[in-house]
């Protein structure tokens, strides 16, 4: 695949990489490093993409594989900041929404690496067959495990 085609593919699917980085790294700097590592690994593996699966399935597989096996740099302090001042009159509803999203991501990050991968794929509407192909387990196994993970997340979010 030509570099331009590859970049168009990654550009169109970069949300997948972004979310995987959010789930598997704790700091912005680590997420940025992981994002770059995933793009690099995708570029190295792109010739093995034969087109018999959806490009997004291929991207998920490489991104998850990289997120779990790539070396992490030493521990970095968790500093979160934004480049905008908070709106004083921020709608209470919006604040609650942001809080709920943060709670959801925090609950997913508490899961084991394998469970994080399964639930991310399920939340992005991949079929059990596609999830099974990416992970390398049967559809039945996927169904059982997803059901268990959903319960775990619900429990975390309600406690």
């Amino acid at each position: 695949m030509e570099e331009n085609q590859f970049l168009a593919l990654i550009s169109a699917n970069q949300g997948i990489i972004y979310k995987i980085c959010q789930l598997y790294r704790d700091t912005d700097a680590d997420r940025e490093d992981l994002f770059q590592e995933i793009v690099f690994q995708l570029w190295r593996s792109i010739d093995s993409f034969r087109g018999d699966a959806k490009p997004s399935t291929f991207i998920y597989r490489i991104a998850l594989n990289t997120a779990i096996t790539a070396f992490k740099k030493g521990k970095r302090a968790i500093v979160s900041y934004t480049d905008q001042l908070p709106e004083i009159a921020m709608e209470a509803e919006q604040t609650a929404l942001v809080q709920r999203k943060e709670n959801l991501f925090a609950a997913i990050r508490k899961l084991e690496e394998a469970d994080r991968a399964l639930i991310a794929l399920w939340l992005d509407e991949l079929s059990y067959r596609e999830i099974g192909e990416i992970i390398g387990i049967s559809e039945n196994n996927v169904a059982v495990r997803i059901s268990r993970i959903k319960n775990k997340i619900k429990t975390t979010l309600t406690t």
Binding site: E3, Q41, R44, L64, D124, I134
Partner: protein, 182 residues
Amino acid sequence: MEIEEIKNLWASQPIEKKSKEVLAEMLKIKSHPVLKKIKTQLLLEMIAWLILLAVYYTMFDGEKRPWFINFVFVLGLLQAVTYNLSGYLAARNLIQGDNLSISFINYLRQLKKFRSSAIGSRLLLMTGLLLFFSYGHELNSKRIIAMLSISSIFILQLWLLYQQWTKRIGKLEAISKSFGAG
């Protein structure tokens, strides 16, 4: 929180989009966060070993030592250079299979091989250096203590290296099992 709400929250997560120019930059090793550092470190190490190889025969009296001492010394240095290079090339290949389970099994197998070869490579290098620089010197108590101290440091280094590899392999093994692989 209900499942539908969880799905909606997940789908509405804002994404920080990167331009194609930024993505293109990420394909280069010189801007890679980890490989760039490994490459520089390995290059410096390899240059140091190669310089030592080039000058040891005349500067460190290689000509006055028997051939087998020279052989172990040169072999130790050459294999260290080769091992570093192969380690760098392997560090670029994280994807080892058509699904995550297979990829982890293969990657773990590779890491275990690397653990053995890392220890073997370091051991050979240290043996070569110790043999070469201690050969021909009369052994008195001071020299024996010095050699024992150096050997202890080498052994400690080997143990730390082994522990480092074992920790990483153990962690990946646990993850691999939780995926349902091997």
